[in-house]
Each structure stands twice: as structure tokens, then as C-alpha cells.
Amino acid sequence: MATSLGQIIRQKRPDGTRLLAGFLVLALIGALAVSAIGATLVSGLGAGVSGGSAGILPAALFTLEQAALSTALTVVFAVPVALSLESLPRFAGRRGLLALFAVPLALPAIAVVLGLITLYGRNGLFADGLTLVGLDWRPDIYGLLGILIAHVFFNMPLAVRLLLKAFEEIPQEQWKLAESLRFGVAGRVQNILWPVIRQSLPGIAGLVFLLCAGSYTIILVLGGGPAATTLQVAIQQALSFDFDPAKASLLTLAQLALTGVVLAVIPKGQSLFQTGGASARRYHQAGAGERLVSRISITFGALFVLTPLVAIVWAGVFADHARILSSNLFLQATVTSLAIAGCSALLATTSAYAIASLRHMLSTNGHKQSSDTVGKLTTSLLGIPALLLGVGWFVLLAMTGRPFALAPLMIILANALMALPFALQIMSASIDRHFATDDRLCAALGLQGWQRFALIDWPVLSPALTGAFLFAAALSLGDLGVVTLYGSDRIITLPSLIYQNLGSYRSNDAGGLVLYLTLLTGALTLIGTRSASHERH
């Protein structure tokens, strides 16, 4: 059944252009990533490796340990919450809750850390509450526990959303059969939901693992000490005090190897990205016991995710808002952040569109394996620290003599690459579904190129593409990333302004800025998820 790709292009089939475009984008991204790592390595080797490999092994081991534990915990919490949300398909606020579940992932780590500390810290609201009821016990979240709480906060809502998305693929007939066959809650979970969980969980867990393995600020602030040193911390160290680019790139290669192993053990054919179906109606009436358990579990999950968000808002409410809002710097930083976020999100969305089209074409032409590989390659971008991309490109641009002339472009590119895997994840299912139904019809009608995009693809795909764009923009907005490397007083983003304030005793103003940044990313993700779920099919 496999159609040779060369054949598609030689025969000038209309989809040949899409195939070429997809490969071109993939090649460009590959070149950008490889050149960054290569340049860092070569430049570092030229200067001599000073650090050697000492400390890489313990760092790698701790990376594995904390990421594995975080992933396990995320899954353990996400599955019951997802099952409960599945069991209660209609209650007031369910949609809003799920939309809010998309927010944590896009928040800057420092905001989350401060939010969690406001809540669970030694002097946090939780401790205050305990004092009120006469208990003098103080939570200690500095150490592995804090890292795990933060990672579960980031990833549990993501896992829940992905699981619910997988549940939507279950055909309506199976739900009807479940009723007809008198399945109780156990039968439904065991025979309908569990097979779906088993199939989609490896992919979800893999994604969560990668996100946890790449975390930095959380590990350092909540880690409690140098015992919590991950590869990412070692990379940052190599790029800061030690300034040992060769070591940094070696560590990055180690991190990528880890990423590769994780992606390789994800079972074949069950990629991170699933082909969607229409969401099906449910027919069961949950019994009183089931409803109670579900409500408790949803309440617990919602409190766990929402309270830190509220804490972030709380921590920012008492800032001097008149002063912040009237400052030119705030306006400039907001405009700059939005401009960078807009550009990188556009780049991420178009690249993801090209790659999703490529993956669809590969799998429909009998190259399922290659299609999976393309998906995994894109996901492996999560294993490359943005700062290393920045240093690598810097070294390359230095050859032109004016490395800073292109600084805004570099910042945009780095943010786009970081957001790409998520953009792809958001749009993949819709693109697969749309192309599967409309591709042959378009070919038959001779619709192609721009005309086809404007008349057919955009009207159908605009909700998914807009959703991906907004989420990518939110991710980019919250990212401090390479701005610090290229920074000058002329490029100030909201995250860098937050750090500027924190670095000058102005933590009150910083809290206010974190609040605005959170509201902004939150608004983008909320509109984005709404858009992505309003598919016209």
C-alpha cells in the first residue's frame, strides 16, 4: 500500500507541495537545533573543556528520579480526576474548569513557585489556616516534596485534558452497549475507559516526563539544596559561572539521549498525538455513590489546581497598581512581550501546520512509522534548553560580526521552537480528521494551493489553528528564556521586567507584574482552548 514519496512529488500530485513544505520545515528546524548544539560544542572545544564529565552521572540520575516520580504522581492523580470528569459529563462550570486546566502549563515557573509558596510555604496561607485552628505545624515543601507538588500542579491538568480528549474518541455505540449490557461503573471503567487509558497513557506519561526532566527554576528554588541537581541545572551552571559551552552542549546531548530513550520506549504506533473522532454522548446515569466519589475527586483536583492560581492573584493584588500601570516600562515590556509572542506563535503555528500535514500524508501513504518518527523528532525539541539554542546561534552569528543585529529574531525563533511541540499536539487531531475527509474531494475538484487553503482548509481548521496560536503565544509570553542572553535595556519583556524588580528589592511590584502576566497568559489559553474546542465538523 505504501506509495513512494518520490513518486508523489514526481507525479506533481497537488499534495506534493505539502510534502515538500513539510520536509523543508522539518529540515530547517533540524538545522536550527543541530547547528546550535554543534556550534556550542565546537566553540567550547576550541577553548578547551574545563569541567570534564564530573557530576554528569549524579545529575542524570536525579533528573531521572525526580522526573519519574513526578510522572508517576501526575498519572496517579490525573487518572481518577479524568475518570470522575468523564463520569459527570454535565455540571455547571465543567467547561470553565477544563479551560482553566490549560493555564498552569503556560505560566512562568517563577510565578508558579511564588504562588505555591504563598499557599504551602512555611508562612503560607495553609500554615496560617492551621495556626487559626490551633495547630502549630508548618509544611516543609523545600525538597523533593516541593518539586513533586509543583510538577504535579503543572502536569496533572495537562494529563487530565489529554485523557478526556482520548475518551472523546470512544464511539457512541460502545456507550449504548454499556447500558444495554447493564455495565455498572466498574464495567464501564474496565471495558470501555481502561483500554483507552492503557493506550494513551504511555504517550501522556512520556510528555510529562520530558517536561519534568527539563524543569529548572522549580528544581532550584524548591529543591532545598545542591542534592537536587538535574542535568538542566548543570547546563545552566555550565553556561553561567563556569562558562563552559562544550560541557553545556555535552550535557544537552545527555539530556537529548534521555529524551530519545523516553520517546523510544513509548510503544510503537501509539504516538503522543491521536487521531480524533467526534465527541460522543453519554447515556449512563451515575449512581449516588459514583456521583459522590466523582464529586470529591473533582473537587480535590480543582482545588489543587485552582488554589495556586488564586494565590498568585492574591500575591499580586496588593502591589501599587497605579504605579505599575502608569509606567512606560510596563507598557514597553507588554508591547515587546506581545510582539515577540505573536511572531513566535505565528512561526510555531505555521511550522506545526506544515509538520502535521506531512505526518498525515506519511501515514495515509503507508509510512505510518515515519509519521510517528516525525512526531517524536518534533517532541524531542523539549529536550533542548532554550538558553543553549541562544548560545549556539550567538556563536554562529558572531561570525557575521554583528550577532546582536538579529537578536529579536533569535528570541522569536527560540520561543517558536519551544512552543512547536504543543502547537502540533493541539492541531494534529483536527488536521488528520479534516484531511481524511476532504483531501480527495479537493483533489477531485482541482482545488489546491492558496485557493484551497482559503476556501476549504482555513474555514474548517481556523478554530484549531487559532487555539494552537494562542497557546503558543501564551507559552512564549511566560518564557524568560534567551531574552536574558541577548538582553539589552532595549529589549525588556514582562518576565525580564519581573526579574528586574525582584533584583531591586521591589518584590511587591514584581508580584503585581506576575499577576498581570498570569492574567495575560491565562486569557490567551482560555480563549485558545475555547477556540480549539469549537471545531466546525
Partner: protein, 337 residues
Amino acid sequence: MRSRNWRSRLLLSAIAFFSSFASFAQAETLTIYTYESFTAEWGPGPKVKAAFEKDCACTLDFVAVTDGVALLNRLKLEGKDSKADVVLGLDTNLTEDAKATGLFARHGMDLSVINVPGGFTDDTFVPYDFAHFAVVYDSEKVKTPPKSMAELVAASADQKIVIEDPRTSTPGLGLVLWMKSIYGDKAGEEWAKLAPKILTVTPGWSEAYSLFTKGEAEMVLSYTTSPAYHMIAENSSRYQAATFEEGHYLQIEVAAKTLEGRDNPLSDKFLAFMVSPAFQDIIPENNWMFPAGKTSAPLNPVFDKMVKPSKTFLYSAAEVAANRKAWIDEWQQALGK
């Protein structure tokens, strides 16, 4: 009127962003690389710029990165292509590394106006401000602050301190050097004793100080000048620095001209301006450090209330460069268990 103002500001911001790197080569421009909190709206940068430009009919151009360490890395990355005429914001722990890059030129200045504890001589780097590292505590929670490092190390673990990571931050390294100055070969053991009192180790000063002011820890590693900020800007004497009998470790911030900047007459002019009262007046209440040179008027009396160390510790830049790795390893060993 209000909305027009808002719109024009928006437009200006947009132009500023898109033209960020459009023009570099203007005549009569001095380019200074420094760190962000120096150029912040509320930092000394804008005032320094205004004061310098008033006399020279030239343009002073700041390029700012996160901190002193990033500043040095940026120079290493750029090498000979660097556009910097002057680099401002390295500290004495970094000067040896900085010299090794071969990018800096000698200042040839008379530094007799400079007055830093323990004195300072260097043919390349010129000090502009200083402060000692100190343990800052919350006086509402700590009734009897430690009077020495020994007391801090021996204290019960009820009261916590936040410190910075020496692998990624200057104050973190400062504390490692401080402990080394006091305890020498026994530093590792003392670190191990201090460990239970350490709440957490943050990547930089900003995170540590935030945790402290959020009330997460009773103490934080900061500077002797930190209380001055709270007293002057917030009118609060809640946060105080503890005087340690053994003495305090010193941080001196320095600037230097680059080889590139040697050809720009404005470089020398700036370094001379930097040690003059016009610049030094700006430092205390904008950079929250002690001025290294003379000011035109006495400092705000608040600065007199700051800790006055009986003894100042400072390793030479060469010693730091030679031992940094080993000492940080020792720290990591002691705390890593």
C-alpha cells in the same frame, strides 16, 4: 487626552522594539555593558546617563544583561567583536577571569580618590561601589540575631536561612568565600553543620530575597546595605543585618575600558566621571551600595546605622579563580548529603 497619550506611548514602544538594533555606529557614542538592575528605570542608570550626557554632548548607550556573571559571559561570547567601550558591573571575584580574556585595557588613572575597605589596587579595573555580605534577618521573628558565623552555624534549626547557589550567583559564591575565610580547611564541616538551617538554595539573589520577604525564612544572605533600602524606601526598620564578630566578606563592583574602547576618548572621560561625586552621589540610594569615591554631601544618616564590619575578608581575584571550583565542590559535598 489620556487616550492619545496612551496611544503615542504604545507607538513609541513599538518603534523602540523594532528599531532596537538598527543603529549602532553613531559618532560621539559611548557604549557601556552593564547589568539590568543598574539600568532599571529606578536604578542608577538613567540618572548616570543624564548626568554624563549633560557635560559631554554625546550619547551614552547602555547594553544590559542579567547580572555580573552574564556580563562576563557576554564578553567571552563576543570576543573581539564586542561593541563595548566600557564594562561596568563585574565584581572582584570575576576580574581574574575577565583579565584572562585579554579584552581589557589598563586605566592609567590615579585611584587615590577611591576608598574601599582594605584598599584596592589594580591596573585595569576601577571600583565604583562596595558592600559587605551579611545575614539579613526579620526583627519581628528573630529576637536574638546571631552575633557571629559560629553562632549561626551552631543555632537550632527552628530558624531558617535562604542562601544563593554559588554555581549560578555572586552572593552564593560570596558566602562560600566568607565561610572559607573564617574556617579555612574546616569550611566543609561547618557547612555540614549549617545545612539543617538552610531552607533552600536559590539560583539567584532575587528568588532568595523574595522568599525572605514573603516570610518563608527568618534570615537571608544579602548585603549590609539591604536594611537601608527598607528604611529609606519603605520607612521600615523590620529587616536588619546581623553583625558577625569574625568579620564580613566584601564585594567590590568595578568597571574597566575595553581594548576597543581605548580608542574612544569618551571611555576615559567616563571612568573619571565614575569616581567623581557626580556619579558617586547617585550610587547609595539607587544601587543600594556604598560609594567607592567621594560624594558631594554626606550620605543619608540611615547608612550610618548599617553594620560596620570589624574585619573585612577578601580573597585576591587570582586566589578565587584558582580555587573556586574546588571550594564549590566542597560546598556541594557538604550540602549534598
